[in-house]
């Protein structure tokens, strides 16, 4: 255990290495480039490989290719690059290839303001790729949690054979905080173990939520495709083969909420209002809550660390506990849509700022008066 002062982006890179990431492919983009720089420096020291690809499309493809070859892999980017990754992100969902995609959000759309923070990609993280699909997105609120959630992202990605998006923002990415780094050898890592012999191995067996994944070149020769496929991986259009796949893949995350849905619910008995937030905005929310409580006002605070799948049950419970939920975000109202969907008749008050500046505690306090 050692205490270090570092940026969120550095903590993400070190978290990845601690989690067993041994391949990184990326393309330079502000404000995420430090992740690539640390990976380029640190990966060879642990026998890992780094490559700077020709664009974000290739980066996403390369991390999938490397994971197929047996190396845990990651890429990091920001809005414009994240858009370019969407097609192959969908491929990873379809072919069930674990990988971690870091999006250090900046102000968009388009080139926008590359150095300004934003939470504008919440919906792109959920629905950016085409077609219906499951996805996991985690959002840290501190440098230390950036490390922890990166480790968690890798383990969830492996365990559920799905891409996991670490949806952070310029503030967390560039902020420096002290962090206690664990001994990397003690960090828990999820590893696939294939016990079936090659003759009977089914890489896409529908008999279990998540069939174990065999890497290429180890005696398990099979087919991986972005087409709908049967249990051994061959393309199929037969409904009796496609439907069990759809059922399994689209419900594999929902069936394991306790493992995937991370949040913190801080209730005060008698509170009539709650604040729900995530990412850098959660820090503002904490500040506002501290001020209110110091004045003797009661308020519930809900911090979501897992944004997708949306923690519906927990937010329903939150809604039941109060009359109103305030949702501050550095966008024009994205996660608020989900809160409104599950809040029933409770009032949802949006507090939005999408100009590159943080939501302030005063903005939240002012919303109380609305």
């Amino acid at each position: 255990m050692s205490v270090k002062l570092m940026q969120g982006n550095e903590a993400i890179a070190l978290g990845a290495i601690a989690a067993g990431c041994r391949f990184y492919a990326g393309y330079p983009i502000t404000p995420s480039s430090e992740v690539a720089e640390v990976m380029a420096r640190e990966l060879p020291k642990v026998g890992g490989k780094f490559i700077q690809m020709e664009d974000e499309i290739a980066s996403m493809a390369a991390i999938i290719g490397a994971r197929v070859g047996g190396l845990k892999s990651m890429t990091a980017t920001s809005g414009p690059g994240f858009s370019l990754m969407q097609e192959n992100l969908g491929y990873a969902v379809m072919a069930e290839i674990p990988c971690v995609v870091v999006n250090v959000q900046r102000l968009g759309p388009s080139t926008g303001q590359p150095t300004a923070a934003s939470q504008g990609d919440v919906m792109q993280a959920r629905w950016g790729t085409h077609g219906d699909h499951p996805i996991i997105a985690l959002s840290p609120i501190s440098v230390s949690q950036a490390f922890d959630l990166t480790v968690k992202a890798f383990n969830l990605s492996e365990k559920y054979r799905t891409p996991v998006i670490l949806l952070t923002d310029e503030i967390i990415g560039h902020m420096r905080e002290p962090i206690e780094l664990p001994d990397f050898t003690t960090v828990e890592k999820y590893e696939h173990v294939v016990t079936e012999p090659p003759e009977t191995y089914k890489p896409y067996s529908n008999r279990t939520d998540v069939p174990p994944m065999a890497a290429f070149g180890r005696g398990y020769r099979y087919h991986i495709t972005g087409l709908f496929h049967d249990e051994v991986g061959f393309p199929t259009q037969r409904l009796d083969e496609v439907e069990p796949w759809l059922e399994r893949v689209n419900s594999k995350l929902e069936r394991n909420p306790d493992d995937i849905l991370l949040y913190q619910a801080d209730y005060q008995p008698g509170a009539r209002v709650a604040i729900l937030s995530y990412g850098a905005t959660a820090r503002t929310a904490r500040h506002a809550v501290k001020q209110m409580r110091a004045r003797g006002e009661k308020v519930n605070l809900f911090t979501a660390y897992t944004l997708w799948p949306f923690p519906e049950k927990a937010v329903e419970a939150l809604a039941d506990s109060v009359e109103r939920i305030i949702v501050p975000e550095m966008n024009l109202g994205q996660l608020a849509l989900e809160v409104e969907r599950v809040a029933g008749r409770r009032k949802v008050t949006r507090v939005n700022r999408a100009n590159g500046e943080m939501v302030t505690p005063d903005m939240i306090l002012a919303a109380m008066e609305r």
């Binding site: 642990v46 499309i57 290739a58 070859g69 070149g217």
Partner: protein
């Protein structure tokens, strides 16, 4: 098999040229086909892709490679369907991205033979960027580009290799764009082995593919083929057999080409077949591995000195 018909003709099975019942098991190269996959292929009858697939499996077979050690990576299109029929580690990816996926795979497993199988549109239009950068890195991947000068699967749209003036569904008045010379592009970008042949010259193709797969670096084999279903029909080029004959009549070996006078070479419009380029260059994964070895070694020393080992 209707034995009584053979009897009526007084023919033995051999005389009637009926294959042995165990013909599949008897052929070593056919063992590379996936028996659990339902044939026939999705390709139109008469397509050159079957011949090219045959050349590929003979090349792998000649090299005596273990099936586990070979990975076939493909993008999207008729050509990109080839891996599904073959019993190797097969990765059917997104349109244009075969080489980018293959790059990740090759870096993860430098010991494996990684072969990227693409059509002309896949490799050079949507995948053009990945094509030049894979060649520039000289990463140990073999790119097999089947060039039929058209998008076949989507119904015959013009591609980056459609000759000027030829028609396509999206060039109904003739193509106005000049084509990419695939081999020249690969050479300029840094490929260390570049060869070209055609679907007619199956054995030649098989030889070039063997050399390409053995080459320690980025290799390109351009297999010129045809699409009688779309390109041939739109341009009135005849049947598959006629187009196949066209490959024979409209191509010239590099040896013969080299003997031509400079004026004749200048005037040549035939496809030049042969090994067009061979150059020893450091292979990407081998060079990167030197960094890994150096850094892991220094890290060991550092950990020992700080007493953490």
């Amino acid at each position: 098999m209707a034995e009584h018909i053979l009897e009526a003709h007084s023919l033995t099975r051999q005389e009637a040229q009926i294959p042995r019942e165990d013909w599949f098991e008897a052929s070593e190269t056919l063992q590379h086909l996936r028996k659990n996959k339902k044939f026939p292929t999705i390709w139109c009858s008469g397509c050159g892709l079957g011949v090219i697939m045959g050349a590929l499996i003979r090349a792998i077979d000649h090299l005596g490679l273990q099936r586990d050690q070979v990975a076939l990576v493909a993008g999207i299109g008729c050509t990109a369907r080839m891996p599904v029929y073959l019993d190797f580690n097969t990765l059917h990816t997104t349109h244009g991205r075969a080489l980018a996926f293959a790059t990740g795979l090759k870096i993860a497993r430098p010991d494996m033979k990684v072969i990227a199988i693409m059509g002309d549109g896949d490799a050079l239009a949507i995948g053009g960027n990945h094509f030049i950068h894979a060649a520039r890195r000289n990463i140990g991947i073999t790119a097999l580009v089947v060039n039929n000068a058209i998008y076949g699967m989507t119904g015959g749209q013009y591609s980056p290799t459609t000759p000027v003036g030829m028609r396509a569904t999206t060039a109904p008045y003739g193509n106005v764009e000049p084509p990419f010379p695939i081999c020249d592009l690969a050479i300029a970008a840094g490929a260390s082995y570049v060869a070209r042949s055609t679907a007619f010259h199956a054995l030649e193709l098989d030889k070039y593919l063997s050399e390409a797969i053995s080459n320690d670096g980025f290799s390109l084999v351009e297999a010129v083929s045809y699409c009688h279903t779309t390109y041939g029909r739109i341009n009135k080029l005849g049947t598959a057999a006629e187009m196949m004959r066209g490959l024979r009549d409209n191509s010239i070996s590099k040896t013969a080409f080299d003997k031509l006078s400079p004026e004749e070479q200048q005037a040549n419009t035939k496809i030049v077949r042969g090994v067009l380029h061979r150059k020893k260059r450091p292979e990407y994964t081998a060079i990167y591995d030197l960094i890994v070895q150096q850094q892991t070694h220094q890290e060991e020393i550092r950990l020992r000195n700080t007493g953490r080992h």
